[in-house]
Amino acid sequence: MGRGRQMFGPVLSERGKRVMEDYPTLAALRQHDRRGIDRIIKVVEDCTEFNRRYAGPIALEVDERIGRDPDYFNWDVIKAGCQYRLLSIPIPEGVGGLASRYPVTTAVLALEELCSTCSGIGVVFGAHSLGVLPLLTSGAMAHWDTVLHEIVTEEKKGNPVIMAYAITEPSAGTDVEEPEFLAVGKIGMEAKRTKGGYVLNGRKCFISNGREAKYITLTAALDRNRPLETWTTFLIDRDMPGYSTPRVEIKMGQRATHATELLFEDVFVPDSHVLGYPGDGMSNGILMVMAASRSPIAAIATGIARGAYEHFLAWAHTTRNGHKPIEEERICMAAADMNAMMAQNRSLFVNAALAADSAFGKIFTSPLIKSTYLTPRPIRASKPVFSLLTSKYGKAFVNGVFRFFVSDEDMTYFLAMASMAKFASSDNAMRITSRALELMGADDSEHRRWVEKCFRDAKLTQIYEGTNQLNRLCLYASHISRELTVEVPHPFKAEVI
């Protein structure tokens, strides 16, 4: 950036300059919207500081400790994250969070930064954001003033309130990620209609943050024989009777986040906790969430790859057996390859994120939503308003606003872009980490230990949020053949049961 430019406005920090180099698209955008982009940079700088002070010093120790003691969860580091408002990243500005014009872009940059040090700790925040998303995409504004408000206010006091998102079932992993598959899937969990709500029975597995989350957004079938037509999103409170988390897994990597099994035994969920409409769980509860959450997975993968790359470079600059590895041509070229792959990843996921933000950002900053939050909170959070917003008229109103800004075609395109970024980036991350590990060889430096952790961490990014195979199919169906359309919910949709 030229000297003349720097005279108008604050000068970027070293970290900020680096972000602009890594994301030239954002640097170009900053010429037109300095304030918006500088807010993203501020979040990234906070993440860097959080890594330096809190996550970095304990990452290896936490990773190793969980191998011996699977139930261990480090709350201290999550509490430390509260002072940087890491739990508020996905929450709309109106409710007191950080999401405004660039909600997804902010999330991807923050996640790349967090995961470049420890993806286990980073993914606690990532999975939390994922849990928040269904509240946003389904326009469940009634819960913005309860759940999201609680997250923000408790965060200010230093008490982390975490969310989780539960879709995977023991018998259905890939099947719950794609409409065509869900239609023929064997679903175990069922929500039965009862007076005033639903009764949930069944299991969910591998749920990130499952044990730690106070609120869980969850999808379940109302009729197991017609899962696609009756797929519905619910909001679960940890204190609901009959809900338990019997088991956490020991994962190969990303261990600081627990993958938990959730057990539902006759859990009653009131009608007010149905998000969106019964039956719109696939489009609204999953595909729209995936459109916003698959590019963050690409960012997690790239963060992990960057961690491996940085430790690899540091290793290459130390003297081993009388010479520095970086003096060898092949090491320089390997570093160049890694750099190129990370640049590919970044351009893919930042484009996907900006595309999504072109719609989501407009919703969060629209005068209608903003003016809603100018009314005093006691009124918004009052019982009549809550009842109105959770009634079908309230939902129809919010959906009307949503549909005004986003069309089905837009949403489908966002999903395609995000799926592409996800599989391409996680495959690249696996290439980068395994190559770094191989080149470092039989070495006893601390750097190798970090790269080993990155290698173990990276593999999961090829699996969660839909396996990479599924994401390829999704790109084909939603973009290349255009057979798949994400339907933004229609108000007053016919009852499904």
Partner: protein, 349 residues
């Protein structure tokens, strides 16, 4: 899976393969998880049962009290054992590789035969010998945390020295690696030597090191085949019983292609091991090692992918294959360094 035919199979070798496979399935496989998980020193009692197979002194001639294996027979046994536990197979490989210098140079074998399992071997690092004492740093020695005796390969002028240093020797500091990702049954440590006095010394030419490395190449290739076979068998069985996308996942083409690649990798690696053992030269052993270990990492990574979330969880034993395979690529040096060496060797021929 269909049994892969060994084109050079003799009656004797078939019996060996079956016995080793039996031992791997009955003794090693049930312990594989424990060998990987335990954070204390792995208990290798089970390896003592392997003594009956003759694999603990495999390369020592039968007259001298060993197993009298040729390299290929040993690779066959090692491959079968790696199907049970790649870590235990690696411990066994290092143990036998530590005897190679003495066998090759016709040196005194008795101290090696008397030492308890496992032996540890150091053939990288910055070792030097002066006045009969060894000094230097070894970044990576397999088996080091359990070993009673260390065999250190050191250049001395034109030739090589294999120095045997006891675990408790003065001047030898064993620094366990704080976290070992793969092949955990062969616990790694770095060694710091400060004028440690060897109990015995074997002298030989440069070929002592290359012979030892050749043996390690073939051994790690064989272990890699074991890992690939394990990955394929698990992935194939799982794919046949996992229903997803309206069908058993074995019927999805992407997974079929992945698994076909595993099979071709196993076939190729096995053929290369047989051919390299026949040729007996370093270049073919290196070529074999590079391909077999790279393919094993790919197979293991794909096996995790076929399993999805389950593959990533420790309790199911699939992710262990990936960690083990990553450790086969790098010892004693990296595959890429061996690629450079391979071309040097080809040019010399």
């Amino acid at each position: 899976m269909a049994r892969i035919v060994d084109i050079k199979e003799t009656e004797e070798r078939r019996i060996l393969r079956d016995t080793a496979a039996d031992y791997a399935a009955k003794v090693l496989a049930p312990e594989a998880e424990q060998l990987d998980k335990t954070w204390e020193l792995p208990v290798l009692d089970s390896m003592n049962k392997a003594a009956d197979l003759g694999v603990l002194q495999a390369l020592v001639s039968e007259e001298a009290g060993g197993g009298g294996f040729d390299t290929y027979a040993f690779c066959v046994a090692l491959e079968e054992m790696a199907v049970g536990s790649a870590g235990a197979a690696a411990a066994l490989l290092i143990h036998n590789a530590a005897m190679v210098p003495a066998i090759h140079a016709d040196g005194e074998l008795q101290p090696l035969l008397d030492a308890k399992f496992p032996l540890s071997l150091a053939c990288s690092g910055t070792l030097s010998i002066s006045g009969g004492n060894v000094s230097g740093h070894v970044p990576w020695a397999f088996n080091a945390q359990a070993a009673s005796l260390f065999i250190l390969l050191i250049s001395e002028g034109e030739g090589m020295v294999a120095a045997m240093v006891e675990a408790g020797a003065e001047g030898l500091a064993i620094k366990p690696h704080p976290y070992q990702m793969g092949l955990r049954a062969a616990r790694v440590a770095s060694l710091e030597l400060n004028g440690a006095a060897p109990t015995a010394v074997v002298r030989g030419g440069e070929s002592m090191l290359s012979e030892c490395e050749r043996f390690l190449h073939l051994g790690f290739a064989a272990i890699s085949v074991g890992i690939s076979r394990n990955g394929f068998a698990a992935a194939h069985a799982y794919a046949r019983e996992r229903y997803q996308g309206g069908d058993m996942i074995i019927n999805h083409q992407a997974l079929r292609i992945m698994m076909a690649d595993m099979v071709s990798g196993i076939e190729m690696s096995r053929a290369m091991i047989a051919s390299a053992c026949e040729q007996g030269d370093l270049a073919s052993a290196i070529a074999c090692r590079i391909e077999a270990t790279d393919r094993a990492l790919r197979s293991a990574t794909d096996a995790v992918q076929v399993h999805g979330g389950i593959g990533y969880m420790e309790d199911y034993g699939i992710e262990r294959l990936m960690r083990d395979a990553a450790y086969c690529q790098i010892y004693p040096r990296t595959n890429e360094e061996y690629r450079l060496e391979l071309l040097d060797l080809v040019e010399q021929q």
